[in-house]
């Protein structure tokens, strides 16, 4: 290693949340260094303060609500925390580049790509217009945008999420800064796109020998790109070290918990494979649906999709955005109607019939939704929410509330929560309540529509365990919809891979994940972050998922 000075030096940085008594520290005395040609990952769950640190480094702390109260930050020897706005502005884009999480909203929708990259040059250099244009095209080529000349004239809404993120990276690197800060840049992307962007960032870091500060919540990503790791929890640095040390021998219990909570791709048939018994509980036959968009564009949401779910079986529907998995789930539950095809539940076709016509059949298929914050009516109390379903099933009020209490116990919630409101609970707790609500209807088939995707990784593991318990206790069949192949492999008996409204591959979970037949499935498996390192025999010392 060279004896070059570190590019970033953070000394006891503290950021306080204004208006809290006693003063709450969003960032509590955090220190670290990043050397050139090194990628440092800040890992933590939501609320850990990792994003706040990134913003502090570039002087972009939100103007209201928080304030810098202690510590210093040095970038290339210059003290950031002592600079005024003008000084910071000279720094941004030239010494430090930053990219953000949501490519959808991070670019000005009214300006072309060319204009937005051009701005960076105009703000800091005296290049001529022709020079700026040429350099911009070069940048786009560097970030591997296909056909840079066309992309220059495009507006953000005309680009895909991955392309927009590449544009952002190009803008951040335009003036060859020595530090690139990436605040969860791949969290909102599809897993295959994520793999590409991660590879790109790593490549750029090596090529230009810059320092990269990468914020993430996914230890799989950490294992793929990090040289050094810093684990954050509630504003504090909990553990730090090289990626080797932290991953293989974490010293803190919290770190261990985070690492273990990362879902593993299960490729051996550890769970007994369930042969799809006859007759199937749910039989989907040739389901199709198309949407007409603006300008006559036709989207084929589902294209003659067929699948079966047997009693007691868990089937995973895995796909990226736009694959049609959610659409299929909503149709099974009756929230959407297909254009053609049939869905047979215990032999009865449930397509095209109203709730009244279906009678008792309707309640036997229930759903748990993705967004824990939108799944519960904010103005209703917990027991009312759960009991109302039971009442519909024909129970008397008293019996219904008793059932609600019982179900809350089953999902691991205290009966004290009965009279409370949803906003008093965390995301994970709300998902448990949502599960209890679904169970109140005594369904035979439970559809989980990305039910754990919005949860922190450690909470996610807990909810998955809960799902495993209840399916045994209540004899449920499940359709588990997710974009995360790892999660599906740990929970499901069979996996169905979907893409653009079609089924690409389906089979036993272990087979699909261990020896995928189709190219797309192989791409999905290959794109899983941390696959190489995290699933190596030396690392997996405990059974797949804990707690």
């Amino acid at each position: 290693m060279t004896s070059e000075a570190p590019i970033v030096k953070v000394e006891s940085l503290s950021v306080e949340v204004i208006g809290t008594t006693p003063p709450r520290l969003a960032v509590n005395s955090v220190s670290f260094e990043i050397n050139p040609n090194e990628t440092m990952c800040l890992v933590g769950e939501s609320g850990s303060g990792k994003s706040m640190i990134a913003h502090a480094l570039i002087g972009l702390l939100p103007t209201h609500g928080v304030r810098h109260v202690g510590g210093k930050v040095f970038i290339e020897g210059q003290e950031i925390t002592a600079l005024d706005e003008q000084g910071l502005r000279a720094l941004r884009g030239t010494s430090v580049g930053m990219i953000f999480q949501e490519p959808m909203t991070a670019l000005n929708p009214l300006m072309t790509v060319a204009q937005q990259i051009d701005e960076v040059f105009r703000a800091h250099t005296a290049m001529s217009r022709a020079e700026r244009y040429a350099k911009s095209v070069e940048l786009l080529a560097d970030v591997q945008i296909p056909d840079p000349a066309t992309a220059m004239a495009a507006y953000p809404f005309q680009l895909s999420g991955g392309q927009r993120q590449r544009v952002m990276i190009a803008m951040a690197l335009a003036l060859s800064p020595r530090l690139l800060i990436a605040d969860e840049p791949t969290t909102a992307l599809d897993v295959t796109t994520q793999a590409q962007i991660l590879a790109l960032i790593r490549q750029i870091q090596i090529q230009r020998a810059i320092a990269v500060l990468f914020i993430t919540h996914d230890f799989g990503v950490v294992s793929d790109i990090a040289d050094r790791v810093l684990v954050m929890w509630q504003g504090r640095c909990v553990e730090a070290g090289t990626v080797q040390d932290v991953l293989e021998s974490p010293s803190q219990a919290y770190t261990r918990k985070l690492i273990q909570a990362v879902p593993r791709l299960v490729t051996s048939a550890a769970q007994g494979l369930v042969e799809p018994p006859v007759p199937a509980l749910l039989k989907v036959e040739n389901l199709s649906k198309r949407y007409l968009g603006r300008g006559g564009r036709v989207t084929q949401a589902l294209d003659k999709v067929s699948l079966e779910v047997g009693p007691g079986e868990t089937v995973g529907l895995v796909g990226e955005s736009g694959s049609g998995k959610s659409t299929l789930g909503k149709m099974a539950v009756g929230l959407l109607q297909p254009d053609s095809g049939s869905i047979l539940f215990e032999g009865q076709n449930i397509v095209g019939r109203s709730r009244k016509q279906l009678g008792d059949v309707r309640r036997q298929i229930q759903m748990v939704f993705q967004d824990p914050y939108a799944s519960l009516n904010p103005r209703h109390r917990i027991d009312d929410i759960i009991a109302s379903g039971a009442i519909y099933c024909g129970l008397e009020r008293e019996a219904a509330y008793a059932r609600a209490e019982e179900l809350l116990r089953v999902v691991g919630m205290d009966k004290n929560c009965m009279r409370r409101f949803p906003h008093q609970f965390s995301g994970g707790q709300r998902q448990r309540i949502s599960i209890a609500r679904a169970l109140a209807m005594q369904p035979k088939l439970l559809i989980a529509d990305e039910a754990v995707s919005a949860l922190d990784v450690s909470v996610q593991a807990q909810v998955l365990t809960l799902l495993r318990e209840i399916r045994v206790e209540f004899g449920l069949s499940m359709i588990f919809i997710t974009h995360d192949l790892r999660v599906a492999s740990g929970l499901c008996d069979r996996i169905v891979v979907m893409r653009a409204g079609q089924i690409i591959e389906s089979g036993a979970a272990a087979t699909v994940c261990g020896s995928p037949q189709e190219t797309y499935t192989r791409e999905l498996v290959a794109a899983i972050p941390g696959k190489r390192r995290m699933f190596s025999p030396t690392l997996v010392t405990e059974p797949a998922i804990i707690e």
Binding site: M367, F369, S375, N377, S388, Y392, C393, H423, G427, A440
Partner: protein, 280 residues
């Protein structure tokens, strides 16, 4: 609910607005006691300036008491404002909720209707309606209702549309709740805040509308309203500036009060809702 009141009480604007509105309501309520003879009674010489004898605000061209007119006018303005707003809200909420929840061709027809009414300049339409159906209390209330319901319907429809695809509404549907129960128990309570705020602002607009109509001479001839006094004062402004000044001031105070209340309500209800929905 307690949080809402606390929030509201914390806003100075809201308290000021409430106080001002209270003053106006007291004026309206006390009119028959302070000026039992009514506003049309001649009490003095024409064009007495304010602060002369017992005439606090002077007299008009016929010697009628301006103060009496203002106090009685308060009742008229508030009445018309409230009634027409209520009617417009009922119509707007019903149509908007149906359009937003049911969708389909009902929605298209309703939206076409709303768009049509919003393209026509509302004040001109109100003038035409009152003129054709002959000025009277009923005509004014009717005209104001007709031009006021479209924005409410639009707002309610937008709210219902966004709520309909909310996950807890879908969950309620899965739990077997009937459509009516969903509309009333799931959606409506969560859409109330913006509707309440819109309603309060609408009262202010209704009062402005009514005063403009009265100013043009389209008010009910038996009712003394603030707009009417100002309209009557137009030609004699040089001699009696107080005739136009004080009633106008009354309008400004009333409308300002209602707007302040509306804004304070907005601030008080929204963060509450946001906090509730985001689990803050």
């Amino acid at each position: 609910m307690k949080g809402v009141f606390a929030h509201y009480a914390a806003t100075k604007g809201g308290l000021l607005g409430l106080f001002m509105l209270l003053v106006v309501i007291v004026m309206a309520a006390s009119a028959p006691f302070l000026f039992p003879a009514g506003p049309w009674e001649i009490v003095g010489a024409p064009f007495e300036p304010p602060l002369s004898e017992h005439l606090l605000l002077g007299t008009d061209m016929l010697g009628r008491n301006i103060a009496a007119a203002i106090f009685h006018g308060a009742y008229v303005s508030l009445l018309i404002g409230l009634v027409s707003t209520l009617a417009a809200m009922v119509i707007g909420i019903t149509l908007g909720a149906v359009a937003g929840y049911v969708g389909g061709w009902i929605d298209q027809v309703l939206m076409g209707l709303v768009e049509f009414f919003q393209t026509i300049p509302s004040f001109v339409l109100a003038v035409v309606l009152v003129a054709i159906f002959n000025p009277s209390l009923g005509a004014i209330v009717g005209a104001i209702t007709v031009v006021s319901w479209p924005p409410v319907a639009r707002l309610v429809r937008a709210e219902f549309l966004s709520m309909r695809s909310r996950e807890y509404v879908q969950a309620a549907w899965l739990s077997g709740r009937s459509d009516i129960a969903i509309i009333f128990k799931e959606i409506l309570p969560n859409t109330l805040p913006p509707i309440v705020v819109a309603g309060s602002m609408m009262v202010a607009t209704a009062i402005l509308l009514e005063s403009a109509l009265s100013f043009l001479g389209l008010g009910d001839p038996n009712l003394m309203s603030w707009g009417y006094i100002i309209g009557a004062s137009r030609t004699v402004m040089r001699q009696a500036w107080w005739m136009s000044f004080f009633p106008g001031l009354a309008i400004v105070i009333t409308v300002l009060a209602i707007n302040l209340i509306g804004e304070a309500l907005n601030d008080a209800l929204n963060p509450q809702l946001q906090a509730v929905e985001e689990g803050a």
